[in-house]
Amino acid sequence: MTDATQSPAQGSLSAYDAHTAKRNTAEKRFRAYGLTAIVIALTLLVILFTTIIRSGAPAFTRTVVEIDFTLTTPQFEAAEKKLLKTKEYNMLFAGFVADAISDGALDQAAVAASLERILGKVGGDIRTHYRANPGDLDTPVAFELSTSSRAEQYLAGDITRDTLVDSRFLTAADLDVIDRMKDAGFIKTALDTTFLFGADAGVDNPGGAGIGVAVIGSFFMMLVVLVVSLPVAVAASIYLEEFAPQNWFTDLIEVNISNLAAVPSIVFGILGLAVFIQFAHLPQSSPIVGGLVLALMTLPTIIIATRAALKAVPPSIRDAALGLGASKTQAVFHHVLPLAAPGILTGTIIGLAQALGETAPLLLIGMVGFVAREYPDGLVSGFTDANSAMPAQIYTWASRADPGFYEKAWGGIIILLIFLLSMNIIAIILRKRFERRW
């Protein structure tokens, strides 16, 4: 005993003994492991975000052809007398473009055919404009015209002259027209408001597809989740944590709550289908059903977080309140719950964020992407009308054949991530505020 305690003192303090050197190496090694793990995680995160942003950014912009087109009054009057009026406008526009980009080198009819594939039938739009604004005749008017998805893909480099197969959508001659328009500076990039605020579109029209309606669907669903799951979860947690006796029954409930948190979300989806739609006859594909299903899924998450927050409140606070003659309910609501509030809030927002990103149960109750075709008329129909949600919309786009939807899916993911990020920021801000108050 005496030998053992004295032996380190005998060696020099500046020279490591074998044991210390080994211990220090082990410590360095362990730190290196940790650092490596963090570096790997950060690298993957950076790769993930770069991929998402690079693939998704094009979804927020669209390519437009902007041309200052002038229609003279005689041209207008002549066109209005024709039998096929929009065709005449098409030809007039094509002629104008042909002059502008090729000094007459290209044939007007060929340009008109190409423009129809690149821009769609623009004659109708032009005619409508001049009939509504006759004052614009004889002066240049800036027309902003959307391009077809194939033309956009060519401009983005996804289609090249070598890979192009002539089809009714795009031909080699069209590429010449596009190149010349590009050289003339007619092709511009604009913010794609359709993507941000629009509804889902048909499988052959990725350019017209938007996530706006699905965002609204997600919003109404989150409202349902919050209103249903928060009060139930907090009440259940308070009862279990503060009032319930410790016996086999409460133990059973506790085990089941933990198990429920681990149940795959698709099981909740099938439950929702059976109970809310087939039994209760709530409207199919509606945010209220989606919200109820996700609320069930979120309950255990919030309950677990709330119970942890309640447990973290020191028992001395309860003793203090009870010792003053407060009833148990008063002690809980006046002292314990306010102290647990930041924890409950964080748990709730984590639960909501989880619910916001959930796809599988929504597909089972019919909230697939293609039902998000129009905005709800009002508050009630927001809950009951068929709608989709952001992740389901993204899933639908990702499974479509047209490559234009691929970038829409990535863009949708960016929007979803922005929402999740802002929810987390709100959680942090609220938490800080609550903590300062106490």
Binding site: I317, L324, G325
Partner: protein, 266 residues
């Protein structure tokens, strides 16, 4: 088990007894924590409970305001009467009892609220003040009784948790006396405090004695000797000896008391 001195004490002092406990047993699940204890707490006096750790003095203290009710596995039997009324009777609401029997805990536990809110909480939940002015008066009176008023009168709305340890404990005492209790239970109120803060609390206890009966659990025998008029010595769940403080410390009748006081056991 019951020795004669205790019975004699009881007979002598029946007239000014505030709380009388007879045959109190406490069980934590299968552990027998308090064994057949008889104690009389006299009115307007300081009674101290001393004894080694785990001897049951805090447990017994918590019987007096039924704080043990909050522990699921704890079972209390026996007869505890306050002013002749059985406090464990079915019709007695522990919440009401605790307003009459205040408690100060070992570790200062102010609510994480303002000083004012800490003191006014008890009176508020018991509906003791109808107006803000009345409440202000109660708060000031309680803080004066807690010997804290002069130090905090300018920052009543500062958080109670921002005070020093000794001030926090005095705040807890002020909070406890705000509900106008008849008995004040103190569970090692100075064990987390430095000697100066301890001296302040002890001085305060002496003043509180004018209005309340005070029961104090302490590990410090010097403190028991300084502040209390009567002392009970607990050992392994038994009440070994109970009597005048002076007599317990100078002339104990039981050999265990003597061993503890002289530092041979404990």
């Amino acid at each position: 088990m019951l020795d004669n001195t205790i019975y004699n004490e009881r007979l002598d002092t029946m007239n000014d007894v505030k709380i009388s406990a007879r045959g109190v047993n406490v069980f934590y699940a299968d552990t027998h924590a308090i064994k057949d204890v008889d104690v009389d707490i006299k009115d307007k006096m300081v009674t101290s409970f001393i004894g080694p750790s785990g001897c049951g003095k805090s447990t017994f203290l918590r019987c007096l305001n039924r704080m043990n009710d909050t522990i699921d596995i704890c079972r209390v039997t026996g007869d505890i009467r306050m002013d002749g009324q059985d406090i464990n009777a079915k019709e007695v609401d522990p919440v009401q009892l605790r307003a009459k029997v205040g408690m100060v805990f070992q570790k200062p536990n102010p609510f994480p609220k303002s000083i004012y809110d800490n003191v006014s909480y008890g009176p508020r939940i018991h509906g003791m003040a109808r107006t803000k002015a009345e409440m202000d008066e109660i708060v000031e009176k309680s803080l004066r009784r807690g010997a804290l008023w002069d130090e905090v009168k300018d920052r009543l709305h500062a958080p109670g948790t921002g005070l020093s340890g000794g001030q926090q404990q005095r705040l807890c005492i002020a909070r406890a006396v705000a509900t106008e209790p008849q008995v004040l239970l103190m569970d090692e109120p100075c064990s987390a405090l430095d000697p100066i803060a301890t001296a302040q609390i002890e001085e305060l206890i002496e003043e509180l004695r004018q209005n309340f009966s005070v029961v104090i659990v302490t590990h410090s025998m010097q403190q028991a000797a300084r502040v209390s008029q009567r002392t009970a010595f607990f050992h392994l769940g038994n009440l070994v000896e109970y009597g005048e403080t002076g007599q317990i410390f100078t002339n104990p009748t039981d050999s265990r008391t003597e061993s503890y006081i002289t530092g041979r056991i404990g």
